[in-house]
């Protein structure tokens, strides 16, 4: 698989767009899935997944072929998703972390403010509800949870995609898991 992908990438580097179409074909669903779970919206997911592929194409010469292509591609996509999530709430100093809570910043506060009323939650289908709860997670936890449980990637790969030490990835998965547990406890 990797050898096949690398062959195509070499062709793309030589300016062969058809080879890139084959790469898009190969990764489209996984990339779309990551974006969809991160953003919770098909339209935005399509937008960002396309943008991610475009960036991969334009910057293909910066890809180190000794590494795994999917890791590089997912990294571009998760960064774009996190940017998009942050841009949606432009009026606050969102990056300022709330004291004493690693990773908990104004996003999570705002997300909590937007909580839907109980009876509406009860009307939701399970799938819908799970997606809603994932999209309420702070973006940092969200990326880790999506990569771990939906893409089912090994921790080492997640650490490379998010450019974070293994320990930090674990912490984020634990906290994301714990937050989801609380959010889903009435299901």
């Amino acid at each position: 698989m990797d050898a096949l992908v690398n062959k195509r990438i070499k062709r793309v580097m030589k300016g062969d767009q058809d080879a890139f179409a084959e790469i898009v074909e190969l990764y489209q669903h996984q990339l779309f899935q990551i974006c969809y779970r991160m953003l919770g919206n098909r339209h935005e997911a399509e937008d960002i997944a396309q943008e991610a592929f475009t960036r991969a194409y334009v910057n293909i010469h910066t890809f180190d072929q000794k590494r795994k292509f999917s890791t590089w591609l997912y990294r571009i996509a998760t960064n774009l998703c996190i940017d998009r999530i942050r841009k949606k709430k432009p009026d606050y100093h969102l990056d300022a972390e709330v004291k004493g809570t690693e990773g908990l910043n104004m996003y999570s506060k705002i997300a909590n403010d937007e909580e839907l009323p109980e009876e509406e939650l009860m009307r939701m289908e399970v799938q819908e509800r799970v997606q809603y709860e994932i999209s309420r997670l702070p973006d940092k936890y969200r990326a880790a949870i999506v990569l771990k449980y939906i893409e089912e990637l090994p921790l080492a790969e997640i650490s490379e995609i998010l450019d974070l030490p293994l320990g930090t990835v674990k912490t984020r998965i634990h906290r994301g898991r714990e937050a989801l547990r609380k959010q889903l406890s009435n299901l």
Binding site: Q17, H29, L31, F32, V130, I134, Y149, E178
Partner: protein, 212 residues
């Protein structure tokens, strides 16, 4: 609610769910879960949560995704490609330039030096393309021979460099180093080495020339 359970149990749960727990801790965790209903509840909720998240149906990209993505790619002109190549491979460009310049320099000096020549020293005898140190004679000084061979029947006190020729085994004695350069490539290397040494001695010799 979570605080009611010891932190260690929570940590062991996390390790277990990450698939990174030691057998002894796994046993300890099982015991804790049996003995503490709050711990058990958290554990069950966590596994349920994971199952829910994993069961989230896998979504697919829209059917026209590939076509749309490809249509959105920037069309790059050839010049952009060349520019990008130069930007990403500065070393390669430098190396190509170096090779180009060096090969031009080498070719000119290489073809200039196609003629038979040798360092003039006393007592040397030339037989056709062969330089000979005659029997019973002693030649003192370094010797460079281009496009010719060397035979030593007498004695030579000095270093020998032979370009495009060979040292023919003979009965004489050489008190010095012998260097044979046969191919264009080696000649190139020799020239570079020489140029470098010239440059060093030029810079090193600056002071002396001022004194004069």
């Amino acid at each position: 609610m979570m605080n009611a359970c010891p932190e260690k149990v929570i940590r062991m749960m996390d390790d277990y769910l990450d698939g990174e727990i030691s057998p002894s801790e796994e046993k300890e965790l099982k015991e804790s879960l049996e003995n503490c209903s709050d711990c058990r509840k958290i554990y069950q909720e966590l596994t349920k949560t994971i199952a829910f998240v994993q069961s989230a149906s896998h979504v697919q990209a829209p059917p026209d995704f590939v076509q749309k993505t490809m249509a959105g790619l920037p069309k790059e002109s050839q010049r952009v490609g060349i520019k990008r190549f130069m930007r990403h491979h500065p070393l390669m460009i430098a190396a190509a330039l170096f090779v180009l310049l060096m090969s031009a320099a080498m070719m000119s000096s290489f073809s200039d030096d196609q003629q038979f020549s040798f360092t003039k020293q006393e007592n040397l005898v030339v037989e056709g393309q062969t330089v000979v140190v005659p029997e019973g004679q002693t030649v003192v000084g370094d010797l460079t021979i281009r496009n010719g061979d060397l035979r030593v029947d007498g004695e030579l006190e000095g270093d020998v460099t032979i370009v495009n020729g060979q040292y023919m085994a003979s009965s004489g004695v050489i008190n010095g180093e012998i260097e044979e350069i046969d191919q264009a490539f080696e000649w190139l290397w020799y020239t570079i080495k020489g140029t470098f040494q010239d440059a060093v001695s030029f810079f090193g010799g600056n002071d002396q020339s001022i004194d004069e």
